[in-house]
């Protein structure tokens, strides 16, 4: 590969810079913000699925931890929103580490099962502890303010999310080519071989899972602030599946694939609104068809075609 891997990042940054000036109304700005938030979450999840070869079926649970920390800590204890965001991320990271350590010593899809359970438990707690979380109806989120300046509305959050996404893409690209990233790819290739060359397999896997969880929690906090309201749906099983789907459709282990997958799947419900009642069927059919015909995902498949043609 002689191509500069950062070209895609420049394209993404250019698009993010131009978008606010060409989007016709706030509906599209809202859509763009949600796409960027999802893209950032999916980048983290893709490091886990694509590079460590482990699947998390409860990732929305970590999102929920961040979102509810951001909503509940300032509301009930008067914490500063930024502190609440950090607390949420630390809690998500700790939880991930506690769950992951014993599980990564095993081979197979045990993380999928453990995260599935964890995500559903978090969702059930959010639904039941109404005094703290507002129960199934959810709760409002106090506004984020920095040095007396209140951050609210589409404009502010657009730029914050745009910067976060650009930094995430940049960091992911760098990480792939760092010793850490190479170790992760080696893990996915052969665990035994990586052990032989001296990679501490369990430690690397735990590290990547904790990072993905903390990242999801932070983006959960951002989502909560942006929307101004949290409901348990943010943390439900279906949302976890959507996130995994974004990874797989875009392309496992592909940084740009994460962004493309998130953008496409965030737009999909809008596109399907015309087929009222049939959304679930069409969503499921798209999942199946794209996995059958493009198991490597959109971006790697197209990239392979493109380089063959060129």
């Amino acid at each position: 590969m002689t191509k500069n891997p950062f070209i895609g990042l420049y394209i993404i940054m250019t698009v993010l810079l131009v978008l606010p000036f060409v989007l016709p109304n706030s509906f599209y700005v809202d859509l763009a913000i949600r796409m960027a938030i999802n893209a950032a979450i999916v980048l983290g999840l893709n490091l886990l699925i694509g590079f460590a070869g482990q699947i998390s079926l409860g990732h929305a649970g970590f999102l929920g931890i961040g979102a509810y920390a951001t909503a509940a800590l300032p509301t009930h204890f008067g914490w500063h929103p930024l502190l609440a965001l950090v607390a949420g991320a630390v809690a998500a990271g700790l939880l991930a580490a506690i769950v992951a350590r014993p599980i990564f010593k095993l081979k197979g899809h045990y993380l999928a099962m453990a995260t599935l359970g964890l995500g559903i438990i978090i969702n059930i707690v959010a639904r039941n502890e109404a005094a703290w979380t507002g129960g199934p109806d959810g709760m409002p989120v106090p506004a984020m303010s920095l040095a007396g300046f209140e951050i609210s509305g589409d404009k502010h959050w657009y730029w914050i999310v745009a910067v976060m996404l650009s930094v995430s893409v940049w960091a992911s690209l760098n990480m792939m080519n760092s010793p850490f990233g190479r170790a992760l790819r080696a893990l996915h290739g052969s665990e035994v071989a990586s052990k032989v060359v001296g990679i501490n397999v369990v430690r690397y896997k735990v590290a990547i899972f904790v990072m993905a969880a903390m990242f999801a929690s932070i983006m959960g906090s951002v989502t909560a602030h942006y929307v101004g309201f949290v409901t348990p749906n943010l943390a439900d099983f279906f949302h976890s599946i959507e996130l995994v789907t974004m990874v797989v459709i875009g392309g496992m282990a592909s940084v740009y694939g994460s962004v493309v997958g998130a953008v496409l799947l965030t737009a999909l419900p809008q596109a399907l609104a015309a087929f009222e009642g049939w959304e679930t069927v069409i969503f499921g059919a798209i999942l199946m068809l794209s996995m059958i015909f493009m198991p490597k995902g959109l971006v790697p498949t197209l990239a392979a075609k493109f380089s063959k043609a060129g």
Binding site: I49, I55, V99, P102, I103, K105, L106, K107, G108, H109, Y110, A112, M113, A114, L116, G117, L118, I120, I121, I124, V125, N128, S190, E191, V192, A193, F237, I241, V244, T245, V248, M252, G277, W278, E279, T280, V281, I282, F283, G284, A285, I286, L287, M288, M291, I292, P295
Partner: protein
């Protein structure tokens, strides 16, 4: 005290039997293909919903029930033929996503076709409860337990005494070796999907008079069946049955003695505990890694 305990035990064993049938379905498909079939819960839903549809449509009850098992089995075959077989060499994550896609399609079609309502079936032998040491037992619970026991015995016979069953077992031990001795492993895969769909549907039909059914019951039932399969050690038939009963009983005890609003969380707490302390499940064997 005893009456209360028995009451919880009865309801736990009854749902547990449904989880056991679902867990057996997971196990069958996992053994034949290493695929974790997340559409398993939809077969449970299909069984219940189709049984309601056919009996309300006026079909004689035995015919309605046979159809409500045969059609989901056909759907299982279609899922295997159209979705799993074309992608057989894909990564496990990809196959999991395919089965999730299949579950969405099945659930969505039923929602469009039959709506979002909740339906019920009349109990097979009336609603007159039996009194046992102060606790009540619905006759339908006996149906659930009786039929599940028969199915378990039949499956044992199938796997240990018939050539087809032995072919399936051989495939689960070593696919290539099974092919070398002339076993048609594609056919085994197809059969395992048909059987596990039929098992799920049967569970769905049996439990509908007690728990009711709607287009979305498959999600939780399927996930709990999955938990049961893992608790018993994924891939182990006996483990699946014991796991199902255990999940059902703990859930009912938890709902009764601890908190009914956390009922649905109990199986998932259980799965975390099992993974921490008994990672291969109660009956799972040791695994070795080939380089």
């Amino acid at each position: 005290m005893l009456a209360e305990f028995l009451q919880f035990l009865f309801s736990g064993v009854t749902v547990g039997a449904t989880y056991a049938l679902a867990a057996l379905g997971f196990t069958l498909i996992y053994n034949a293909s290493n695929v974790i079939n997340f559409a398993q819960g939809e077969f449970i839903m299909l069984g219940g919903m189709l049984a309601v549809l056919f009996t309300q449509g006026g079909l004689p009850i035995p015919l309605a029930l046979v159809l409500a098992i045969a059609l989901p089995a056909l759907v299982g075959v279609m899922v295997e033929k159209l979705a799993i077989e074309p992608a057989k060499d894909a990564e496990p994550v990809t196959l999991i996503i395919i089965t999730i896609g299949a579950s969405l399609v099945i659930r969505g079609l039923i929602q469009v076709w039959l709506g979002k309502g909740t339906f019920s079936l009349p109990a097979f032998s009336g609603d007159e409860p039996l009194q046992i040491l102060g606790a009540t037992l619905m006759p339908q619970s006996l149906w659930v337990l009786g039929v599940t026991s028969i199915v378990v015995v039949a499956l044992w016979y199938f796997f240990n005494r018939t050539p087809h069953g032995k072919a399936m077992l051989a495939t689960s031990y070593n696919r290539e070796a099974a092919e070398l001795v002339g076993i048609n492993t594609n056919w085994v895969l197809l059969l395992s999907f048909a059987m596990s769909a039929a098992l799920g549907a049967l569970g769905g039909i049996l439990v509908t008079p007690i728990t009711l059914t709607s287009y979305d019951v498959g999600i939780m039932l399927g996930l709990k069946g999955f938990v049961a399969a893992v608790v018993g050690g994924l891939g182990n038939g006996l483990g699946a049955v014991v796991g199902g009963l255990l999940v059902g009983i703990l859930e009912a005890m938890g709902a009764g003695y601890v908190s009914s609003s956390y009922k649905d969380a109990i199986p998932f707490v259980l799965i975390l505990v099992i993974l921490f302390f008994m990672p291969r499940g109660l009956f799972g064997g040791k695994s070795t890694d080939r380089v």
